[in-house]
Subunit: 122 residues, 2 copies
């Protein structure tokens, strides 16, 4: 199976884009922690690892990671984006607490099956 790096490299190559140290660092940190994250949190995480990458580059790279299929953008009733890993993770749903905003992930195969069914029908 292809590693995350391989997938990203292939995507970049197919678009004639470059695999830079900044892109590598962002890929690494985006997958270093299993939960959801926002662009700002990733920036802080990078700083804590002594990597100074500008916000603009983070946004540009996250967008590439989404296009390559490695990350997904999810929005939880807030106005800014959260990202979550696709690579190595099953499709799932989220439960968002109306009081504290806490997010619980769950996989319910019966719901998955019905979702597929509705999608096909429409």
């Amino acid at each position: 199976m292809l590693s995350k790096e391989d997938v990203f490299r292939e995507y970049l190559e197919s678009k004639k884009l470059k695999f830079t140290v900044e892109r590598q660092a962002i890929l690494d940190r985006a997958f270093a922690n299993p939960k959801h994250f926002e662009a700002d949190e990733l920036l802080i995480d990078l700083r804590q690892n002594r990597l100074k990458i500008s916000k603009a580059t983070i946004y540009r790279t996250l967008s590439l990671l989404v296009k390559s299929g490695l990350l997904r953008e999810v929005i939880f009733g807030e106005r800014h984006a959260h990202y979550e890993q696709v690579y190595g993770h099953e499709h799932h749903d989220h439960l968002v607490c109306n009081n504290c905003g806490k997010i619980i992930e769950f996989v319910e195969h019966r719901i998955e099956r019905l979702q597929e069914e509705v999608c096909k029908k429409k």
Copy 2:
């Protein structure tokens, strides 16, 4: 059964707020069209009906309508809010086309049941 106006009036009264002509107009137009809408679309709709209400008032009133339970805020992978009517509408899910962004609403009772089940369990 209480009308939308009654529900809104009661909510406002309970919070010692006033039922102004602006709030009435926004309530009317928010329910004049059955599909989802954004704040800007509502502004245009109001202008077309010769009602000049500022954006600030629209946002402030939409927030009250959500708190009163008449509208729900939904976000479809975009960074800005869409609103949909709760009053007189069953709980449902949305299918968003990845290509054109078109939104299809559907009610699937088996999914509703499983959603309830998961919510209780967590």
